[in-house]
């Protein structure tokens, strides 16, 4: 790995088209400005790793890994509300309404 020391305002050039500028340093935080050609995806590493892992895990599914019948007819039902929140039906609403 190439290791460079830079001061705020200084830059690193990667290839002919990617410019990384140290915008500022504050305590343990470094702010970077990145100029890259349109179409070069730039991600924070932790997000990139997390999404990559989800994609990889999804791509491991075998042809028969998915529920064969609509789950509505089984023991599960679509999570229409965020997980953990009780579902309120129209009947519940009416009952709560005096």
């Amino acid at each position: 790995m190439l290791i460079l020391t830079r001061r705020p305002g200084e830059r690193v050039v990667i290839g002919d088209e990617i410019l990384v500028t140290v915008m500022g340093v504050s305590g343990h935080t470094v702010r970077l400005g990145i100029a890259a050609p349109e179409g070069v995806p730039i991600y924070r590493e932790e997000i990139w790793l997390a999404v990559k892992e989800e994609n990889r895990a999804a791509a491991e599914a075998s042809a028969d890994a998915l529920p064969a019948t609509p789950p509505e007819t089984g023991t599960a039902q679509p999570a229409q509300t965020p997980a953990g929140e009780p579902t309120q039906t129209p009947a519940d609403e009416q009952a709560a309404d005096p």
Binding site: V51, E54, A65, L66, P78, A83
Partner: protein, 148 residues
């Protein structure tokens, strides 16, 4: 005109040329530049996003709105610039799915949805605060949760 490609899961698959979706940047960490959507589990809401040029590369996907009524997509500014997509107007939306033997453990990645418009697809980052990387696709009905 039809296109035939090989799949390790489904054998030889024939699709129409217009059903090929170009992903100029591939999927994050997976690549693949040309995909198509296969409906191999009719009625379940699951589709396969299958690479046309890589027989082993395929992911189950679902439409987020079908399973998550509160799903919102807020495309990250850098993705808007890169893809030219300001929002999902007129686009088809899908999220990747982690399949597991127990349906209750199946999760969808709401954080990085797939936006497909006019034959082009992009995996974008969703800035919506509630967009989880692993959102459970199914939950037990309330009464079964209490009983178990």
């Amino acid at each position: 005109m039809s296109v035939t490609f090989q799949s390790i899961r489904f054998g030889a698959v024939e699709i129409q040329e217009e059903d090929v979706i170009e992903f100029p940047f591939g999927l994050i960490g997976l690549g693949g530049l040309r995909y198509t959507l296969l409906d191999r589990n009719p009625g379940t809401g699951f589709l396969w996003l299958h690479a046309v040029d890589e027989p082993a590369l395929a992911l189950p996907v679902v439409s987020p709105h079908e399973f998550f009524s509160t799903f919102t997509l807020e495309i990250a500014p850098e993705d808007q610039e890169r893809t030219g997509l300001k929002d999902a107007t007129g686009a088809q939306l899908y999220v990747t799915v982690r399949a597991t033997p127990n349906p209750l453990d199946i999760t969808a990645n709401l954080r990085a949805p797939l936006v497909i418009r006019e034959g082009h697809g992009y995996q974008v980052l969703n800035m919506d605060e509630d967009a989880s990387l692993q959102a459970p696709l199914f939950t037990l009905p309330v009464e079964q949760r209490i009983a178990s």
